[in-house]
Assembly symmetry: C2
Homo-oligomer: 209 residues x 2
């Protein structure tokens, strides 16, 4: 699992102490994992005294939980909203599905250090379950509307999409090393990558394509 | 990344010393990574004196290279052979493609501890490149034969297939925890999983489906 891309980020000193602890904590947890992160290192990086974690979050675990909760909100809220409500036409379905893929990938890229952390530590999120469930429902509703093939296994397609998007982040340095491409740093390639994958997903799901 | 599923395997004492070192080394490397593995632990587990690694493999690195080379042979040789040579008909294409998926997944399951190790350590294999290239060629040949859509991006479909198969191994305990399913231990589910994914891949690639 790639860990070497993440760097220690010093929080903006203009932020309030609670915010500085969240930024510093995210950086230290992402680099060392939950077990390897020390309260002292987080507080030094945040420029606070070490009882501030206790004051704001109760404990190291409390800080970690708050960081993961913020992470899952940031990554999943927008994509979930985009596919909420049944598709009204084939054009509406494909457009929203494309935006959904783009926004999920963009959110994972923006939060990649924490995403690698949660995968490494096998964290289970309620919001991630909601995201999964929303995509399954969106596909099932589109089946009922005759837009998606009836024999499509919506849960399998959902799993495939998430595998595909997530791995571009998890294995970015490996992919770069073997193929020369990187969706994180190369916007042109990211667009090409999204288009080709959208094409595969749509062929896998639509009626009469 | 999941590491807790692997267990230390003591080699069969009836094996020759060189073989015992390969089995013991695979187990220790899979559990502790290359950096964390000690020559002493490997030799103790193999029941050999510690200069035997030097004798047979030159060094710890030499043993590691030999283990990875055996691993990549074991995992990729059969699948590569299955898709060597152009598909002769649609039926021939879909049958061989199905067997290719089954055999790749079975080989990854059988060698899952080492597979997790190579992913964690981002090892790049020549044989894995050959496997990728063979699948791209197989799809391109099927395009020329009019069996696969001309506008399919063969490299993208190849990447998607490998993401999908590999993640079932890498994230088996996570998937089990969130969905209750596991392709490694549940053969019936593995068959269902393969069938549903085959369906998606075929719809993504075939002409007139």
């Amino acid at each position: 699992m790639e860990m070497k891309d993440s760097k220690i980020t010093r929080p903006d000193p203009a932020l309030a102490a609670r915010e500085r602890l969240l930024v510093a904590g995210a950086s230290v947890f992402a680099n060392h994992g939950y077990g390897g992160a020390s309260v002292r290192e987080i507080c030094e990086l945040a420029g606070t005294s070490s009882n501030m974690i206790h004051h704001y979050f109760g404990s190291k675990q409390g800080l970690y939980d708050e960081i993961l909760s913020q992470f899952s909100e940031r990554v999943f809220t927008v994509p979930i909203r985009i596919i909420s409500g049944a598709a009204t036409s084939r054009e509406n379905l494909t457009t929203r599905f494309e935006i959904f893929l783009e926004e999920t990938l963009a959110a994972l890229i923006a939060n990649r250090d924490l995403y690698r952390l949660v995968v490494r530590e096998l964290v289970v999120f309620p919001v991630f379950e909601a995201y999964n469930q929303q995509l399954v429902s969106f596909l099932d509703e589109a089946k009922n509307a005759g837009l998606v093939r009836n024999d499509l296994d919506s849960a399998m397609l959902t799993g495939m999409i998430l595998d595909r998007l997530g791995n571009q982040i998890l294995f970015a340095s490996w992919i770069r090393q073997t193929s020369g491409y990187c969706v994180i740093t190369d916007e042109k390639y990211r667009k090409r990558w999204l288009k080709a994958n959208l094409d595969l997903f749509l062929h896998g799901m639509l009626v009469g394509l």
